[in-house]
């Protein structure tokens, strides 16, 4: 008789594998950004990993992995923002907010119909990255207007050419090895799940279809 049952074993595997990937990817991201960059942008490994965790493993995985990755991002490279008094300050929890949101939006594609379709996962990454970029620019514009500080934002065409496109491309490329890691060396074993996907059954349709 086994001391640790299958359910507990799979949970341990999930926690350990996620922990290793989070530490490894976040460390690589902030230690060697020059090796992940192109046209002034950097492939966002943590961001892509969070989206894919939500896409492949559902709402709760996306939310929790996003939350933890966000905490790590806020420790390693938090953004500096002009505060209400005009002083530039290091912020906290913007990373958590961003990656938590990315995880749950990524999980919106988690459906029986999708059946963890691998090519579509890249579409999910591109979609969430585009949302992140657009919302990011709107937030910076809104915050700068609110505190009455002139923002040095790109013009829309420059933003599209030099910020959106390189970031979308880099994130889509970064998604390819991460998809393989999550599918074949990931926190969840997909063996024998082709016919009946217990995870989908348990979590339900985590999409706009399920709302």
């Amino acid at each position: 008789m086994s001391i640790v049952n299958t359910n507990t074993r799979s949970r341990i595997r999930k926690v350990v594998v996620y922990a290793i990937y989070i530490i490894l990817l976040s460390s690589i991201q902030v230690s060697f950004p020059d090796k992940l960059g192109f046209a002034g942008q950097t492939a966002d490994l943590m961001f892509v990993f969070v989206i894919l965790s939500g896409y492949f493993n559902g709402f709760w995985d996306g939310a929790i992995v996003g939350f933890v990755c966000g905490l790590v991002r806020d420790v390693f490279s938090p953004p500096a923002v002009v505060g209400l008094d005009g002083e530039v300050r290091v912020t906290a929890f913007i990373g958590v907010l961003t990656l938590f949101a990315a995880g749950i939006v990524g999980s919106a594609f988690f459906t029986k119909r999708m059946h963890r379709n691998v090519p579509f996962s890249i579409v999910a990454v591109v979609f969430v990255t585009a949302c992140y970029k657009i919302l990011g620019f709107l937030l910076i514009f809104g915050w700068s207007t609110m505190i009455d500080v002139p923002s040095s934002l790109y013009s829309p065409s420059t933003a599209f050419l030099y910020s959106f496109l390189p970031q979308l491309l880099l994130n889509a490329i970064a998604a390819i090895p991460l998809i393989f890691l999550l599918r074949f060396l990931g926190p969840v074993s997909y063996r024998g799940k082709a016919e009946k996907d217990k995870i989908v059954d348990k979590q339900g349709e985590g999409t706009w279809l399920g709302i």
């Binding site: 530490i23 490894l24 976040s26 460390s27 690589i28 991201q29 902030v30 230690s31 060697f32 950004p33 020059d34 046209a39 002034g40 942008q41 950097t42 966002d44 961001f47 709402f59 709760w60 939310a63 939350f67 905490l71 790590v72 991002r73 806020d74 420790v75 390693f76 490279s77 938090p78 953004p79 500096a80 923002v81 505060g83 209400l84 008094d85 002083e87 530039v88 300050r89 290091v90 912020t91 906290a92 929890f93 990373g95 958590v96 907010l97 938590f100 949101a101 749950i104 990011g136 910076i140 923002s151 040095s152 934002l153 790109y154 013009s155 420059t158 910020s163 970031q167 985590g206 709302i211």
Partner: protein, 293 residues
């Protein structure tokens, strides 16, 4: 109502609202919200250092293999250079002695003599265009104690401006780099009574590795390749720290002439930096104490 509370989308919305509130609260001066991240820092920092060291070791090993021939040639050239430098060193020793004598005589003020210089290594860099502060491995226990509204200049090995420290914790500090949109420093042309202006970070120029020069007075003429240093105005940065060179000047709007500047410091390639901390001389402290008593 019970159904709503159990709904995962409703929970997610609540969490997002709480996080947004925390993010805004963290912008207040002396906000305690940031302390919530301390346990995460304790766990993740050693792990990140381990990964960084492993990556550096692999990179160094690879360089050792690929650069072998180049290193041998460089070694030959360096040997010749050493012989040449030895000759110059002997000559300069005498000149240095003369300089010290003249310095005493003429009371030449050393620009950075009122600053302590602390060395630190870069732990982590920006993770994307918005999450772009730099983390150093020196904190309050190393003497980098930052008071509210204060800041310390950060320089590279060649003493060029890299950025400024904007936050320090026990073992780490965070640097706002020169290219960041929130960065601003008063600069001047590197000559006696050089014209002063502002050198600021700009989102659009950042991707080209450039800064914006603005607030240039009407009668000031800036030209490409002019060397720009800190002017000392504002008090945060001492006068004379090299910032960079002028790349281009835009006279299209005569009322608002701007220029672009290429910083000397290659922030993406830096490993070690220096933090300049102004020290209070003991005599001054004693005088203040006496006056206070």
């Amino acid at each position: 109502m019970k159904k709503l509370i159990k709904n995962k989308w409703f929970i997610a919305l609540l969490v997002l609202l709480v996080l947004a509130a925390f993010a805004v609260l963290s912008l207040l001066p002396g906000s305690p919200v940031k302390k919530l991240l301390k346990p995460v820092q304790l766990v993740t920092s050693p792990a990140q250092s381990l990964v960084k060291n492993a990556g550096d070791t692999i990179s160094d090993f690879w360089s050792a293999i690929t650069d072998g021939i180049a290193i041998r040639k460089e070694n030959e050239a360096l040997k010749e250079q050493i012989a040449d430098l030895r000759y110059h060193l002997t000559q300069n020793e005498e000149a240095a002695l003369r300089y010290e004598e003249l310095k005493e005589a003429l009371h030449i003020k050393d620009v950075f003599s009122n600053y302590d210089i602390y060395g630190a290594s870069i732990l982590s860099r920006e993770s994307d265009e918005w999450f772009s502060t730099i983390r150093l491995n020196a904190g309050t226990i190393d003497g980098i104690a930052l008071e509210e509204g204060n800041s310390y200049p950060v320089l590279d090995v060649q003493m060029n401006l890299v950025g400024r420290v904007i936050e320090s914790s026990e073992k780490e500090s965070r640097v706002l780099p020169l290219l960041h949109e929130g960065f601003a420093v008063a600069g001047k042309v590197n000559e006696v009574n050089g014209a002063t202006f502002m050198v600021v970070g700009d989102a659009e120029l950042k991707r080209q590795g450039l800064c914006l020069v603005k607030n240039i007075e009407k009668d000031v003429v800036l030209e490409p390749n002019m060397m720009i240093v800190t002017s000392g105005d504002g008090g945060l940065f001492p006068e004379g720290i090299p910032i960079g060179v002028i790349v281009s000047v835009d006279y299209s709007n005569p009322l608002e002439v701007t220029a672009t500047l290429k910083p000397y410091s290659q922030i993406g390639k830096l490993e070690d930096v220096f933090i300049m901390i102004p020290y209070v001389e003991e005599e001054t402290v004693e005088t203040q104490n006496t006056t206070g008593n």
